[in-house]
């Protein structure tokens, strides 16, 4: 099937449209949207689609965009929104609410640096700020993965064993505005992949309060149930991968993607598009006989701790690359990944590509060389990437 030349923003909007239409036999589709660079083109395209039994609400803020999704999901509809950076920060209160109410909202985040000072370029800090919000978070490496992940996200979010919102993260401009040949499925295929949404907790005419008052004991129970749902995500995701492959003929990536790690003595761990740059650098290093491997963390929530621990076994040196900085700490991915390494492993954190800095294979090779020279891990390093 020949691909269509689309940006990741448009790929996401097409996926949301197809998913929206696929719920026409159930409660329909309703989305609240608000523009912010670099996610705007996604909502623009969505607003230009005809969606049978669908409604896209052009609201006055990101806070309300997520609120419309909350209302729509509580009413049993399929829901979608998109945002970035300060929009996500402004939305944050309702982002948390959507998760705690166990509503299967899907959001595409075009990762962008938080401001002011204003910077529209890529940085994972906006969505990582919400890592504790109770959402599933997937980080994508290319446009096809964005489209596929949005479709998978609906099926994962709406699975009765999960019922959690999913954030599909794609780096601003690097993916959001870069047009690539992308396979866009037909409505018939999406209809076969996405079953009609039947949220068991949707509002009906029965008197009942959704989101009422919790006391400590009921909060404990609710958090425990939420965590148990998170614990089921990877098992359900495997079924989603199988179902996707059966319909579309290609398999969505695993929660953790290993590249040439079999005999690796050193590993470079990263997320998003930087991981594809790392793979090129690994090829380069391998051609010189260096036993370097790459690991891409695609699912950040739930955190794939077991998969990472398995891949880290026997490796003596690990570099973790973060396109973010938790100020006063270091890279967020580094903070979580290093706990999965065996005792005695040298795990060094590097923060690179902040504010959209262009990360190239030579940066990765320089980091690999820096890792090789170290006798012990030090404080996280803020590595300057290109302009």
């Amino acid at each position: 099937m020949p691909g269509v030349l689309v940006s990741a923003n448009h790929a996401a909007a097409l996926a949301a449209t197809l998913a929206g239409r696929a719920n026409r036999g159930a409660r329909g589709f309703c989305s609240g949207v608000y523009p912010i660079t670099p996610s705007t083109e996604c909502m623009e395209l969505l607003c230009n689609q005809e969606i049978e039994k669908g409604s896209v609400v052009r609201v006055e803020s990101e806070h309300s965009a997520m609120a419309v999704c909350i209302g729509a999901a509580a009413g049993g509809a399929r829901t979608f929104t998109t945002s970035a950076s300060n929009g996500i920060a402004y939305m944050a209160e309702n982002v948390v609410a959507a998760a705690l109410l166990r509503l299967p909202v899907v959001m595409v985040a075009a990762n962008r640096t938080l401001g002011p000072p204003w910077n529209v370029w890529a940085d994972h800090g906006d969505t990582l700020m919400l890592r504790d919000s109770g959402w599933i978070q997937l980080y994508c490496a290319d446009n096809q993965e964005v489209l596929d992940s949005v479709l998978c996200a609906f099926r994962l979010a709406e699975d009765p064993r999960v019922l959690l919102p999913v954030m599909v993260c794609q780096e601003g401009f690097v993916l959001s505005h870069t047009m690539v040949q992308t396979e866009v499925p037909t409505q018939d295929e999406v209809d076969r992949f996405l079953p009609p949404l039947a949220h068991p907790g949707r509002m009906t005419t029965t008197p009942r309060a959704l989101g009422g008052i919790d006391v400590p004991h009921t909060t404990e129970v609710h958090r425990e149930q939420h965590q148990e749902a998170m614990d089921r995500v990877f098992d359900v995701y495997r079924e989603v991968q199988d179902g996707f492959q059966a319909v579309f003929g290609r398999r969505p990536a695993d929660p953790v993607v290993a590249y040439r790690t079999e005999d690796a003595e050193a590993l470079v761990v990263s997320m998003g598009t930087i991981a594809t740059t790392v793979e090129r650098a690994v090829d380069d290093a391998r051609s010189r006989g260096e036993k370097l491997g790459a690991i891409r963390v695609r699912a950040f929530r739930p955190f794939p701790a077991a998969a990472l621990a398995r891949l880290f076994r026997g490796v003596r040196r690990i570099a973790v690359l973060d396109r973010d900085i938790s100020l006063g700490f270091g890279g967020v991915l580094w903070g979580e990944a290093r706990g999965q390494a065996e005792p005695g492993t040298l795990v060094q954190g590097y923060m690179i590509g902040l504010g959209g800095g262009d990360v190239r294979p030579e940066h990765v090779l320089a980091i690999a060389a820096d890792l090789e020279r170290r006798s012990a891990a030090g404080s996280p390093v803020l590595w300057e990437a290109g302009p």
Binding site: V59, E93, N94, A209, G212, I213
Partner: protein
């Protein structure tokens, strides 16, 4: 609020229905919002309603999970998001051909202040929502801080000497969006209140109802005197009871006496006005100015029959 508002109403078949706000709720004795709920339950009279309640006394009053003191389904939202959450629920209800009335039930903080943006946007989009603001002129749920609905001269926990600024004209603000229907209700005029609640329930598009809801805890008033306080607020002209149709036609439903005696009694029955020393004479000026404005916009008076 011991004066029986409901007893003054003619018996009708809804009296056999379960109330909208059920026994066991956590509201204070004399809560004006409770009375508003009882009237609203009468008005609803079997119509399918779905309540959307932002953080507020109303949210707390329904009691802890998994219980609810409400006789209708309710979605509880973040503080500023009621109108936007209601938008999603209403759109989905319409997509599915359901007649469900999606009703926001919000306090003055969630309406005048933190909810203003989402309220204004939903009104501008003419969403099919009924938005009810029960206005107790205070952040009651957090213990009584000033809101932009608090009248000048009223002491609150963060304006201990009395608020300086005037109360916002919320009905004027919402009506300026040219919404199909916006009205203020008096708990002391239950027939007029229920008539307008029903009109609002059965109108399509964005509808807004403003209810002055005495809060004995915040107003430092006798719980039994709530309805009397509302009556005094209406008689004195302090709380105009009116409706605005399509943002253009303004109808005064209860003619005020503009009574000085009523205004003095209204102030003296609440201890919140003590410290500021605000006097009826000083308020007279702004009340008369307000009524001049209303008269210039209203048609011939259409007073509620036999009430007040």
């Amino acid at each position: 609020m011991s004066e029986s508002v409901l007893a003054s109403l003619p018996a009708e078949r809804s009296s056999s229905h379960a109330p909208l706000l059920r026994p066991g709720n956590a509201n204070c004795g004399g809560c004006g919002m409770s009375t508003a709920f009882q009237l609203f339950g009468r008005a609803v009279d079997g119509r399918p309603v779905l309540l959307v309640i932002p953080a507020s006394c109303a949210a707390v009053s329904i009691g802890p999970f998994p219980y609810t003191a409400l006789g209708a389904p309710a979605v509880l939202t973040t503080f500023g998001a009621a109108a936007a959450v209601a938008t999603g629920l209403s759109r989905v209800a319409r997509l599915n051909g359901e007649a469900t009335r999606v009703v926001c039930w919000a306090g003055d903080g969630g309406t005048y202040d933190i909810g203003m943006a989402s309220l204004s946007a939903a009104a501008e989009r003419d969403e099919d929502i009924l938005y009810v603001c029960y206005d107790n002129e205070i952040y009651g749920n957090t213990g009584g801080q000033r809101s932009s609905a608090t009248p000048a001269g009223a002491a609150t926990t963060n304006t201990p000497l009395g608020k300086v600024e005037q109360k916002k004209d919320i009905l004027g603000i919402v009506a300026a969006h040219r919404v199909p229907y916006a009205a203020s209700l008096s708990l002391a005029h239950p027939q007029d209140a229920i008539r307008k609640m029903r009109r609002a329930l059965d109108t399509r598009g964005f509808r807004f109802l403003h209810v002055l809801a005495p809060c004995p805890t915040g107003w430092k008033s006798e719980p039994a005197l709530g309805v009397e306080l509302v009556r005094l607020a209406v008689r004195s002209g302090l709380f105009p009871v009116l409706e605005v149709i399509e943002g253009r036609t303004l109808v005064v439903n209860v003619e005020p006496e503009l009574s000085q005696e009523a205004l003095e009694r209204y102030l003296s029955l609440q201890r919140r006005f003590l410290k500021s020393g605000v006097e009826a004479r000083a308020l007279r000026v702004s009340i008369e100015r307000r009524w001049q404005e209303l008269r210039s916009r209203s048609g011939p008076p259409a007073p509620a029959r036999g009430e007040g």
